[in-house]
Symmetry: C3
């Protein structure tokens, strides 16, 4: 499942967001109103919203439910024991819960399984353990409460919905969609669009590089955009 | 009042939160719905939510009121002049106020008095001064406005209520309750539970250490939890 | 327009906020209820709310509107091509929009134009590029979405309104007002008050220095304030 040789990691979350924005218009994708962007999910480890950490890989989705929900499906195995190598763990936590759904022990298991990182629409804990492990952890916020008495994993590899910010359309992540996450943020690429996103990123970043070079010599931004973006 | 030889500082806020969660069930503590956790109070100094800073000590509580509230009690001394040695200053600021209730001069006085740190359900300022002083400062947010025209200390060593996040039950802090605060967050231990929390932390962290060692050798998380947590 | 020799940069945002608070009473300024403070605009570059970065200069104001607003005025030039040397770019973004209105290319142009920094009541992106450029960037939050499909600059050098926190009065920034921004926050000085703010800052920080020295020798805070603040 992993494809760590893919060139996409060399593109940033911002580059990918730009590409999806272009594609959603050129490809007429009405269900891509979000352009794949999951706002206000922050990089917490190895550093808070800093450094060159970039995660790129297929999503392994985990749906959490409140522990009080006894009717939702149950898993036969612990979700952390079935993390695929090379995957990015994507977890949806019910909103308005303040417990963590990810901590130091989960990271130890995820690293052994070969996961690339974890993206949580919710809360995580054990910041120092995460950082010492060097594991890329993205989440809305932190907590000190464990999950045990509050949430449980109900299903894996089902489409999950993330909407950490109500001013932006929800993003549905399907297992196998590609996740790009770095200090700037998190974006999800529908798997069918991967090749097109890559091609668009290549084209646009080449243009951006030309623009940047021009701006650094003092060319105007309007003139630069006209010249290179057309 | 201080007890800096207590072993509890070696346990993290997450460990203590876990212990309180266990105890509130085993001891049937109906008024501990919050499990002592004060969410969304962040470590701002010496570093933002990073590093090994850990505060542990008895609470010295300070209740702030809006300056417009002239009927609330008044203090005969400045609250900073009566900070007990070895205490953790806990301040409740009326919600929705954007001024700081703690700054660089307060830290200078608190350090001279021998306080271990300050926890504010509200705002603080003078980040660089706090950091240069190396004083542990926890707060909901920062500000640049001083307190003088906005809030005043009304009472000390009375129970104060902190509820920085409406999705979590309020936490009432009594003078002498124990506060544990680090990069992950803030938790308050009712003083009568201190010995039990310590015993539970010892037991649980020993188990966690066994789990972590097992996970690092590749044992499954379900098997590990079954083996060590039972 | 720039006045980088002004002594004011040696005063912090907190010092300036204190001075404006004093002046709004002594000068009876009914329209200064905000005291110029723009809460919850954070320093993101070169570091997140840390370091000695301090921006001081006259505001160059930019009003953004939603791209869907076709009736609002249009600019004849790109707003980044008319940034004055020595200015602080101040941008108001319509609230509840999650796209960035400032990114790496804008910074390259702004630096060439000689801007001192940018303050955004909204979102910015390209954190690593901003930091590598060493450009001071202040904003409410970050994003990965570009502005192109979401917002556009409508007017420059008109009064703009910033209100990132609804619990605090809006701040109106006029072109040429002075902005002071550092790790603690952002404050705006009406240009007519600049000399008075400077005088008040000098007076108050001299007193603060005396208070700090006294506190460090163990004098009480009540006694210290009485002695030096009167």
């Amino acid at each position: 499942m992993a494809n760590t040789n893919a060139p996409l990691p060399f593109f940033s979350s911002c580059d990918v967001a730009d590409a999806l924005q272009v594609l959603r218009k050129s490809e007429n994708l009405p269900d891509m109103e979000s352009a794949g962007y999951v706002p206000d999910i922050h990089l917490w480890s190895p550093q808070f919203k800093a450094g060159n950490t970039r995660v790129f890989g297929p999503a392994y989705t985990v749906e959490m439910v409140p522990i009080t929900n006894t009717s939702a499906p149950k898993l036969s195995e612990h979700f952390a024991d079935t993390i695929p190598e090379g995957s990015v763990i994507c977890i949806s936590q019910p909103e308005n819960m303040v417990n963590a759904v990810w901590g130091g022990l989960m990271t130890a298991r995820a690293q052994f399984r070969g996961a690339l990182g974890v993206v949580v629409d919710g809360r995580i804990r054990d910041l120092n353990e995460q950082r010492e492990a060097g594991f890329p952890v993205f989440a809305k916020a932190t907590s000190i409460m464990g999950a045990g008495d509050h949430t449980r994993a109900s299903r894996i590899n089902v489409p999950i919905t993330m909407q950490p910010n109500k001013d932006h359309p929800a993003v549905t992540i399907h297992a196998g969609d590609y996740v790009v996450a770095d200090a700037d943020g998190v974006v999800v690429i529908p798997k069918d669009l991967l090749a097109k996103v890559e091609a668009q990123c290549k084209k646009a970043t080449a243009i951006d590089d030309q623009c940047m070079a021009a701006l650094k010599t003092g060319e105007g931004i309007a003139a630069t955009f006209k010249k290179y973006r057309g």
